[in-house]
Amino acid sequence: MVNPLQTAILEPVAASGLFQMAWLMIAIPLVSAAFLLLVGKASNAWGHLLATLAPIASFGIGLALFFQLLGASVAERTVEVPVYEWIGVGPWDVQIALLVDQLSILFVLLITGVGSLIHIYSIGYMEHDERRRRFFAYLNLFIAAMLVLVLANSYLVLFIGWEGVGLASYLLIGFWQHRPAAAAAAKKAFVMNRVGDIGMALAMITMFAHFGSVEFAEVGKNAAQFSPLTATLVGLFLLLAACGKSAQVPLQAWLLDAMEGPTPVSALIHAATMVTAGVYLIVRSGPIFDQTPVASTAVVVVGTVTLLVGAWIGTSKDDIKKVLAGSTMSQIGYMILAAGIGPAGYVFAIFHLLTHGFFKANMFLGAGSIMHGMDDDVNMRNFGALGRAMRWTFLTFAMGYLAIIGFPFFAGFYSKDHIIVAAFEHNMIVGICALIGAGITAYYMTRLMVMTFFGRKRWEHGVHPHESPGVMVFPLVVLAILSVVAGVAMNSWINGWLVPAVGGEEHTYGLLDGFTEPIGWLTMGVVAIGVVIAVSVFKSVPKEAPRGNFLERAARRDVYGDDINNAVVVNPLMAFIGLLTGFDRGKVDGAVEGIGASTSGLGQVLRRLQSGYVRSYGLTMVAGAVLVGAVLILGQLA
């Protein structure tokens, strides 16, 4: 169905005053990153402190701009800040400009705010790493790239940030390069993201060909001129891009492996910010998705499937970070689902994105704190009874837990409830899936809590858990507070704030809405059931993982994500090549290298043509001449 609500069309006003300084938010961390990389070892002693100041400075500017916007009238809240002319030859004119509006400023605050906290946390977490300065430089680079992504005024500038965060993520996943698993995970993330980038490139080319511009404002104004087919194609291209970046089915497989990166990276990039870029992209592209019910439905389907698959994976992993990663996939699935619903869901998608950024970063950092105390162990079967040993970590983690399962008055209670209600209004099946997802979320998160903080000690010999230093606890406390209050604080406000920017219906939501609607009670009931089941099942946790039923076994293998990739893409190609050449399949471990492995098989075949003999080269040239002749003659006949 075509949504009756309209998406807002951007009408930016020129920047003045403080807004002209917006580019500094990007420049400060970028310069800091370049400085740390260029100065080298000389800055080892204080580099991390400088790097921590950079996002704090950006946050300060962001906050000032936010208050400026708050004070401005609605019509003046979309501000375009020109930076410089990137390409200008004749009619081919690309301005690099930033777009500060209600949507992007929220992202800015999330990225720089949570980013600053994670920088502070990393001071403690990476204290003994000899490459700490480099780590902080990469984090700064990420912050800068992510800000480019959300502040871009056009798809092309967004794409610069898009590739930049990809690069930073690649560098940071593989940061512990001495681990083969880290290097493989980095590579996998890069390759799968490139698949998404094709979607982005094709979408941009199509827009450019139609409108001669890829600026959000221009595209938004003209999107109605797209033919339905073109609009659908562009929508699907954008969805492909979003799937790659946000780890949505079918490009989800990289996110679980990405947990090889240091835990602050998982918190910042693979939970709070970068992986939500797909949601941002779809919300920004609202005018296009308005034109295409097909692509919108595809978005809803992808979101729904991912929210279930991610939750499913979360139920059976013993690696605490992988449970959280599955959970991230699932929660982003909720956001994508909401974004797919159209203007009615955009605000909720962003609302959940923000609260999720707080509570998931909180829990990832908590997991990092636990690893810090448990000699970098991530296996929850070796945890247990940590609630007493690590008081602060436990308490803050508990706030995140209550937020994600949607305990009344915590952040997730508001943001997720809206999405489930909207899903029911959109389609009964989607609504039921979202509801079930909430139940599974409660189940796996309770399982995580029980296995980690309660029960009896299952610690490995010689492990003495201890609370982390204050520099790590402080960010946990701040994020825990946000996990509690963010929902209450934003619930009544965010709709009115965002609707002029992204579209939708002006409506004031009350704090007690969840208790007045049947769906609210239903959700709470399902969540309670999930919690009760988990508590009763995980009363005692065996040290060795039981074999489990087929659902659990599937979840442990990431719901066969790698196997499906292999079966659908890698193996058929390999078989085809094997038929041609008898090429040794055993050599190729397709799980990681997808495209690379299969095409390298083809490369081996083609390489045989490169025999080294001049006579065979000459023969190839003659064959080429014949080919040219044949095409020419065919052209004459046609």
Partner: protein, 528 residues
């Protein structure tokens, strides 16, 4: 018998050619007269004078021509050279890239005091004569005049307005290169094999080219590109002569740009030649050959566009994919860059296929987008090959990819620069390679070849994978047992300068493409 009329030559406009050619000629004189120990310096001074003079006169002439839009651009030298926008742009690019490449010819610090060239080409590899020549620290300073002669040919080739000049300049460009390719100091047999292969296959392709010329002459009755174009537009006579001529001349020029299936020489020659010569070939020859290819097909065969666009599209697809796919399995860095250069030839061919003219949405024609691409690709390429010369062990350069494992950890700076060049080849935004791809794909799109752009985007994805592979090896792989003393040697100012220029332009033109794009857009159309 009538009296001999001296041809009217525009010496002022020929000045860049004269500078380069005279630098080469005097270089031969230096070899004959100057004592051995002064020759390297004398040659370097000559090359510097020649190239700086050529650059200044080129830019001066171009600026002068732009001031007179009606008469400034013309076909001169009795109708054999076109002094138009593309010519000036190509000349300026060739001179800069030639200077960066030739600068490295004299790099001694990397080779422990010896240049990258064999001390005495005439001595057989592995004989006492060779050892004696090495002990005496002999040097072939003839490489400088050879490079200058080749550069002369490269400058005439894309400017040639008639087919005879085209053919002669093709040979002037190629013959010195065949020699240069065989002069490597290390692994001499491989180098000589490369030279011989390059020579034989080059001659073979020239044969196709001349045969094509003959057919076209038979049709149009003239070698002049403009008259050929007119004849084709009028369409009188046997059109099969045109079709045959186009096909055969395409084979000859596509060979030089390294398009599939005429690419086979590229990996062998790139690998065997001295790396500094490979850098020269990969950047300069590609520009010259593409310039000539574009002029030939847009000016002479512009009227037969519908005939050649289909096969050029087929060749572009083949070139992109064969280059990208075989590149993945290469285990030698130089061979990998050879396949990379093949893939890039494919990307540039998409602009040729698009045949976009005039100011459309993107404001860049096929010609200007291809020239921009060639310039930025050439700059990055020179830098990449310069870095290859620095990774060495006792036996000289080490180009086995496995031996590069872990150099990113020991020399993060150099490996980081190389990674940046590779990212530019892969077309990541904020590098010059991204703008180049955007421009050529835009030109193909405007020409109505949207499907080709989609294919090209897919091919660039595959190609990105093999650049990534090198980055992974450099930064993430453990150094294996076979590293046998591989290290990154710091070079003298010559190589350092080349790398610095490449680095600054690769990043600079990605962030501020406007520094070069307007110049390329002024070279939008050939003069007919």
């Amino acid at each position: 018998m009538s009296g001999f009329t001296a041809p009217a030559l525009e010496y002022g406009h020929l000045a860049p050619l004269i500078f380069v050619f005279l630098a080469g000629t005097f270089g031969v004189g230096v070899e004959a007269t100057v004592p051995r120990r002064f020759r390297p310096t004398a040659q370097l001074v000559l090359v510097a004078i020649g190239l700086i003079g050529a650059l200044i006169t080129t830019i001066g002439n171009w600026v002068g021509a732009l001031a007179q839009p009606d008469t400034g651009f013309f076909i001169g030298v009795e109708g054999s050279l076109a002094f138009d926008g593309p010519t000036y742009f190509i000349w300026a690019t060739l001179i800069v890239l030639g200077a960066l490449s030739i600068l490295m010819f004299g790099e001694r610090q990397l080779g422990g005091g010896a240049t990258p060239f064999t001390p005495q080409a005439a001595s057989l590899p592995g004989t006492p004569a060779e050892r004696e020549a090495t002990a005496l620290k002999l040097e072939h300073t003839e490489v400088y005049p050879l490079a200058m002669f080749s550069l002369t040919g490269m400058m005439i080739f894309p400017a040639a307005a008639d087919m005879l000049t085209l053919f002669v300049s093709l040979e002037i460009m190629s013959l010195p290169l065949y020699l240069l390719a065989g002069l490597a100091r290390r692994r001499r047999l491989l180098s000589q094999e490369a030279a011989l292969k390059y020579f034989m296959l080059g001659s073979f392709s020239s044969a196709f080219f001349v045969m094509g010329m003959a057919l076209i002459y038979g049709y149009a009755g003239s070698f002049d590109l403009g008259i050929v174009a007119e004849a084709i537009t009028q369409g009188a006579g046997s059109y099969s002569l045109v079709v045959g001529g186009i096909g055969l001349m395409a084979v000859g020029t596509l060979f030089k740009v390294g398009a599939v299936p005429f690419h086979n020489w590229t990996p062998d020659v790139y690998q065997g030649s001295p790396t500094v010569v490979t850098g020269f070939m990969a950047s300069c020859v590609k520009i010259a050959a593409f310039g000539a290819l574009l002029r030939l097909f847009f000016v002479a065969f512009g009227g037969a566009r519908w005939d050649w666009q289909p096969f050029m599209a087929v060749i572009a697809v083949l070139t992109m994919f064969v280059g990208a796919i075989i590149g993945i399995v290469q285990d030698d860095v130089k061979r990998m860059l050879a396949y990379s250069s093949i893939a890039h030839a494919g990307f540039i061919l998409t602009a040729l296929v698009g045949a976009a003219q005039g100011e459309a949405i993107m404001g860049m024609t096929s010609v200007s987008s291809a020239l921009f691409y060639l310039a930025v690709y050439g700059l990055t390429t020179v830098g990449a090959f310069a870095i290859i010369t620095m990774v060495r062990n006792e036996g000289g350069e080490v180009t086995r990819l496995s031996a590069w494992a872990g150099i990113g950890r020991r020399n993060p700076g150099i490996a980081g620069i190389f990674a940046l060049f590779l990212l530019s080849f892969a077309g990541i935004p904020l590098t010059s390679g991204f703008i180049g791809k955007l421009a050529v794909f835009g030109a193909a799109w405007q020409g109505g070849f949207g499907w080709l752009v989609v294919v090209a985007v897919l091919a660039s994805l595959v190609a990105a994978f093999f650049y990534l592979r090198v980055i992974v090896v450099m930064f993430f792989s453990d150094a294996g047992d076979e590293e046998d003393g591989v290290e990154v040697v710091m070079p003298s100012w010559r190589t350092t300068l080349t790398i610095a220029v490449a680095l600054v332009t690769t990043v600079g033109l990605g962030v501020l493409p406007n520094l070069l794009l307007p110049a390329a857009s002024m070279a939008a159309e050939f003069l007919r």
